[in-house]
């Protein structure tokens, strides 16, 4: 526990230094105190075992997809807005579902997989993930301009 607390303190103090951009003594003291508060908070959260992160490297093989999709999807969403404003054609998004294997609710790998799928699915502007329904084994998403296949809704293909 003290080793993890120290690691958190060092990381947070480094972040403070990077953002504060000065080594004046009062600033350093404030940064050290703020980093200590953050490190203790992180340790308290960690001790509750609410979140456990385990990543398989193979999950990241399509990590480029959400990043590449940002550019065309931003254009698509902004064009939809212009269509509504200029041509008076109202835009209305839709909810869609894609099959998703949820895994164990409290399993570290499955929790991480679901979190990654939600983050990657919500990265590009046209789509965001509302949640993974464990009972129906589906992932619920919302799209402003409905379209695309399952890989557009789950770009890392984790389901």
């Amino acid at each position: 526990m003290p080793a993890r607390l120290c690691a958190w303190w060092i990381a947070l103090a480094a972040l403070w230094l990077a953002l504060d951009d000065t080594v004046a003594f009062p600033e350093l003291m404030t940064g050290a105190a703020a980093a200590l508060i953050g490190a203790v908070a992180a340790e308290v959260v960690h001790s509750q075992h609410l979140v456990r992160v385990r990543v398989k490297p193979s999950w990241l093989r399509y990590a480029w997809r959400p990043v590449v999709r940002v550019f065309p999807e931003t254009a698509r969403v902004l064009l939809a807005l212009l269509r509504q404003l200029v041509l008076r054609r109202p835009v209305s998004g839709e909810f869609r579902m894609v099959p998703f294997r949820p895994g164990r609710p409290d399993g570290a790998y499955d929790m991480t997989r679901r979190a990654l799928a939600k983050t990657a699915g919500s990265f590009a502007p046209n789509t965001y993930v509302v949640g993974v329904d464990e009972e129906r084994e589906v992932m619920l998403v919302h799209q402003l301009e409905p379209g695309g296949d399952a890989s557009d809704l789950d770009p890392l293909e984790l389901g």
Partner: protein
Amino acid sequence: MTVRHVAEYVLLVLGVGILALSAIGVLAMHSVYDRLHYVSTGSFGAALVCVAVTVRESFSLIGNKTLLIAFFLLISGPVLTHATARAARVRERGQWKVREGERVETLQR
């Protein structure tokens, strides 16, 4: 005017343009679910402004700081959108999950 200046201005104009359109999108859309899409584009616009600052200042303390801010914006944006959409569905329907009778298209893998 150097290539660097051109890149800087292009990124800045794109970033500010996307931010302005995103703000209009949030106002113009009818439902909270549609508005949330423009919060994502806003994060992307702000990230482009941060990259423009980095192009101007190079990898100095200021440039690195704006890159860090861009990274946080891009990572926190999807999480905020997801959490807000879920909260909106819970408020509207009592639960975020699809209820019996709600028409939602299901795709096949």
